[in-house]
Symmetry: C2
Subunit: 457 residues, 2 copies
């Protein structure tokens, strides 16, 4: 029996206490977007500081930012020769509306069957507390095998506006070998998985102006260009019939998928029938030569997110609109750079916008893609930990969405993020009746214990 | 001196009385779209019946429709061998909002300089009363040389919803050789003109649905088609780089412009600089091989009138929209048929919509184009009348917009409409401070007198 087996035994004996601790944190309505919850944000931060101090962390404290504070603590007793892990989490939660659709009070956690219902139960107080329970269990048997820096932000649900500046101002404090980010999940309660890559994002608004004001389509139609039609033509050319994006140089930095990448993705349970059922579309579509799972997670895309021009009410108005607008965004994969993509879009627009209109673009969001090597030490340790706890090897997944903090940490601290969290697809994140699957929470605690065992091997 | 010279002399002597009569009618706020003005609509109709009776018309009466009544009267003493003219007009007016931009009370007519300011002064109580003043002047000297049927509707400003049924139910009553429609204008106070053709209209809403609900563009972008992008691609193909509309058979029924048509249009003062200044566009655009005036009045067009899909607020939302909508309309020229154009659009959509979406179309408006022969008797008579009053030959124009009643009259009564009205481009139709140019009003009265002189030749 290793000391980690002792830690597992401790964790199992203390399951009720771990859940109790999570329940205490869930009772604090730390909704970051609502000003009336500012005192609750402070309470949640203070609660975490106390909890970290109780666990034996040093320097547990609340560090202010422009808006909601960051909770920081560290355990550095493994010494300078040991690895240092930066553990990222967030203690803020989404608002509860539509509140009428909740079956229980979102801030009065209730266990029903295998599930604990509360706002933040899965996203991500449950993940943070599973991690802290694992650390407690290990420290009960001795020291951690690595140095640990805990950074818990309070603004993830509002887009982490203060985090880049905070990281930049605290680069020395946050220096580490890699980041462990619990803000993720597995594919099902019996299907362990590791998320190796996240897509980036480049989001723009394109505006086109033709005549100086709205004109009568009878009196002027035919003599002057129609900005809505021009916008349609320019957007139409951005993607060809094979689903290939036509912005110049768009694919230049795309890291090709290896045979192994594709083999791993082929093992995922998200087959074509799954994608069809999930979307309800009459037929799937996408880039020729790739599976739907690859298209939606490992290949870059271009989507129109919004269109607006002219008259959009009921019935007819014979207007020749002065303006047209499209929101267009690209999901990016390693090693595409949002700023290079912006340049590519601008080049395309310069090439394709006719001189009969004026146009402009606004950048609304920008996030780098990220990836961690399947053969890296953190991934290998996490895979062995999952294998031990679940009794089967994890699947390797990519996430089609974007987690800006991973990009910020890569850019500002120079380290990769290992995503290791235990949310489930049906946890109702950001929705009414959010829940944490309790057996998965306990498996999560054990996986974090085993991760520390494996990472120090 | 002919008796028509006597009629002109009478009209000149009675100018103040003619204006007084117009002013009386303008004081009645016959706004057809507002329910609170229903009594005013009735008052305006009664006022016109009394006026027509006073002029010597027979059977002047108010004929009910589903909404606002039609005023009808006839003068049939020219006998069965003489021509019968159906005179069309409307006694309803547009609402006055934004009322704050009016410098005077819209229903308390005021003469300032050469202009009479009031709602409906030009559109079209001024035209109706100019015509009746001319009839009065002729009847003062004897009989009219033709039979005259007067039909004044109360719904033109709300799209004439009851008129087609009214015409259909009264085909015998309205039987005539041609229609004289005063709802038009000339190019400037010193530039007489005749409108020979009006464009038709076919107005549709095209809807596209991809996934069954809005999806997250991160999680699903790439695996499922984007209905907004599909809509852009389908619309983009509707017009080529030369401005030629690509719907199959779209131009099949288009009557080619003759050399004479084009010569007459080239005489119009609307040169390229005029179109550029009017639209404020950075550059003109349109179908290759045609002037802007031809493009905007004598050639068919396709315009996007509205676009809507996904997120259109400020900032970004990473939505993959379930639906996208476009309002698309075509202006039609003789001899295009709106129903054939609908079929052409449907064929195009069937050919171009991919199987990755579902789609539909809704028809919002349909109106036939119309044209009257430059060498026809009514046009020749009107041209001679304008020449006599203005001392110069009229220009021949086409109107890019659509006048549905002209199509209805052609379709249901089988007769062409001769547009003969005296509105000016700066009369502020449908806008605050609508006005009638008083000298043009008096010239209009004289032109109608001369028209009757010439039509009977």
């Amino acid at each position: 029996m290793s000391r980690y087996d002792d830690a597992i035994a401790f964790a199992r004996k203390n399951r009720e206490r771990s859940l109790q601790s999570l329940t205490e944190l869930l009772r604090i309505p730390s909704v970051s977007t609502l000003p009336e919850h500012i005192p609750d944000m402070q309470r949640a931060a203070e609660w975490l500081v106390q909890r970290l101090q109780a666990l034996g962390f040093d320097g547990a404290r609340i560090l202010p930012t422009a808006r909601h504070p960051v909770v920081y603590a560290e355990w550095m007793k493994a010494g300078p020769s040991a690895q240092t892990i930066l553990c990222y989490g967030h203690y803020d939660v989404q608002p509860t509306d539509p509140i009428g659709l909740w079956r229980t009070d979102p801030f009065d956690p209730v266990v029903e069957g295998d599930n604990l219902y509360a706002r933040g139960a899965s996203d991500m107080k449950g993940q943070v507390m599973a991690h802290l329970s694992a650390v407690e269990a290990i420290l009960h048997t001795g020291d951690l095998p690595v140095n640990l820096k805990i950074m818990l932000e309070g603004e993830e649900e509002i887009g982490s506006p203060s985090l880049p500046a905070f990281i930049q101002q605290n680069q020395a404090l946050l220096k580490s070998d890699f980041c462990l980010n619990g803000d993720s999940g597995i594919l099902a309660a019996d299907t362990p998985a590791l998320t190796l890559a996240l897509r980036g994002l480049a989001y723009f608004e394109i505006t086109v102006q033709g005549p100086s004001t709205d004109m009568h389509s009878g009196g002027f139609g035919g003599a002057v260009d129609n900005p809505a039609l021009v916008l349609c033509q320019v957007i139409a050319g951005m993607r060809d019939a094979q689903g290939v994006i036509q912005l110049p140089g768009f694919y230049d930095a795309v890291r090709p998928l290896s045979a192994r990448d594709r083999q791993e993705m082929a093992k995922l349970p998200t087959d074509e029938a799954w994608w069809l059922a999930q979307t309800g579309a009459p037929q799937l579509a996408g880039e020729a030569g790739f599976s739907s799972t690859e298209r939606a997670s490992a290949r870059p895309t271009l989507d129109v997110n919004g269109l607006l021009s002219g008259f959009t009410g009921e019935g007819s108005k014979t207007v020749l609109p002065a303006k047209a607008m499209a929101k267009v965004s690209m999901r990016l994969v390693p090693d595409q750079d949002p700023q290079a993509i912006r340049a590519s879009l601008e080049t395309y627009l310069r090439q394709h916008m006719p001189p009969t209109v004026t146009w402009g673009i606004i950048e609304h969001a920008s996030c780098r893609p990220s990836i961690i090597d399947m053969d890296s030490a953190p991934v290998a340790a996490a895979a062995r930990a999952l294998q031990k706890v679940w009794g089967k090897a994890p699947l390797y997944a990519r996430t089609g969405g974007s987690v800006p903090v991973v990009g910020h940490i890569k850019e500002l601290l120079g380290v990769d993020s290992m995503m290791l969290g235990f949310g489930l697809p049906d946890d109702n994140l950001h929705a009414p009746n959010e829940k944490q699957h309790v057996p998965t929470f306990h498996n999560g605690v054990e996986t974090y214990v085993r991760f520390y065992e494996e990472i120090a091997r």
